[in-house]
Symmetry: C2
Subunit: 250 residues, 2 copies
């Protein structure tokens, strides 16, 4: 396939946020089957951390950085999200997808909590060879803070334009962005102010739904629209059909 | 500690090259204890692949590259060397060293079999925070070849100058570079031509001892001398004492 798409799997979709790194392997298997039925290459997958990493990041206060002598939380947090990444990669490979996990701690560098570098040429070459890179929210070394948390949504924002991805979809456990219980079909920089969007009730060091929308609005302003939809809609998204979710555009 | 050193653990030191990825955990534990007794930070550790990765790289012909449809060997080879890396990291952490594994497949990019990029700022920040990065010979995506093998020795060559490392030591299962059974005390660009150096008898897709010396001579020409010594000499190297090995200098 010549077009390239990015699919984000929300952390709360693939883990049970009530436990400590409880990977939902049955759901992951179903998602991997849905993806493999639609296409086996030309996809870059990003996933959140869910219950694997968020509790550790919070316990070690990585959302505020890391100083010498406080480095212990970096390895522990990275280990937790890497375990989830291995689970996602294994589920995809089980379905015949040539998935390879890539860790932002290894590939990226941040300053003030924002990515300033992430090697993309290897991702580009992997996509050209039929490999599906699987990237995840992670702890990343930070010039000014020592270390920081880079969410899956920030990764989408950083990578989508650099890798010439035509479509970006975010599979979540809700049917879209909800405003007073209803799915908001379209969000633009002009309409975001009028919405009442609740914050996530779970442990989330990355800004919850508001943080997600802010990243996606930046992406839209860079020319790449995206859509937030329910995980059951992945086959529709991959086939280019309407997902009845929330589109974030300019 | 303010000085920074690089220690390379040869693949044949930490694995049994006769088997398929047979990690020598007892020897690794002893090495980790030796390191921890001398210092717990200010070190960057690089290790070879030994029997974890070399057979896979050869089976999939990764020494000659990878084309679309041949990507399968990349994940398999990376998986093998990553398993060894996890073993090295675990042995070091067991001794109280804040070790974190970093994969060249994630952090680097090559062209024509040579690294052209490798994120170093995160390594620099890790060293500043007291973390010991543990890097290894790996498959790396390559602009012209699709993928290639980057040896631990090439990594030393690429990283030592960029990370301002003052001393570079390579622990091997021989007491140094041997010429007709004797350790050669010093090798320079002028003397290398006069030596009779055997090639490795094991499966090695990275050029054996000749390839190693070529990398280290390049490093010497960039102003950083190095020493090849027997693994039992690690305490001497870390303490700055003579290792009775082979020094590669200009």
């Amino acid at each position: 396939m010549s077009d390239r798409i990015m699919l984000k799997l929300g952390g709360s979709v693939i883990t049970d946020k009530s436990g400590d790194c409880a990977i939902d392997r049955d759901r992951l298997s179903g998602i991997a089957r849905d993806i493999a039925r639609a296409r086996k290459d030309g996809i870059l997958i990003v996933h959140g951390a869910g219950s694997c990493g968020h509790p550790e990041a919070k316990r070690y206060h990585l959302d505020t950085g890391a100083a010498p002598g406080q480095a212990g939380g970096i390895a522990v947090t990275h280990h937790a999200v890497s375990a989830l990444n291995a689970g996602v990669v294994a589920a995809l490979r089980q379905e015949g997808i040539e998935a390879v996990g890539i860790h932002p701690l290894h590939a990226g560098y941040a300053d003030g909590g924002r990515l300033v570098a992430f090697e993309c040429r290897h991702l580009d070459q992997m996509l050209a060879l039929g490999i599906v890179p699987v990237i995840h929210g992670d702890v990343v070394m930070d010039r000014s803070r020592g270390a920081c948390i880079v969410s899956g949504d920030q990764l989408i924002r950083f990578l989508a334009g650099r890798l010439s991805l035509q479509r970006v979809g975010l599979a979540t456990d809700v049917p879209g962005v909800l405003d007073r219980g209803m799915v908001v079909p379209v969000i633009t920089p002009a309409t975001i102010q009028t919405l009442q969007i609740g914050s996530s009730t779970h442990t989330d060091v990355t800004g919850g739904m508001r943080g997600k929308i802010a990243e996606l609005l930046e992406l839209a302003e860079a020319g790449i629209g995206s859509e937030i939809f329910h995980v059951s809609r992945i086959p529709d998204f991959l086939a280019g059909r309407d997902c009845n979710g929330t589109r974030i555009i300019t």
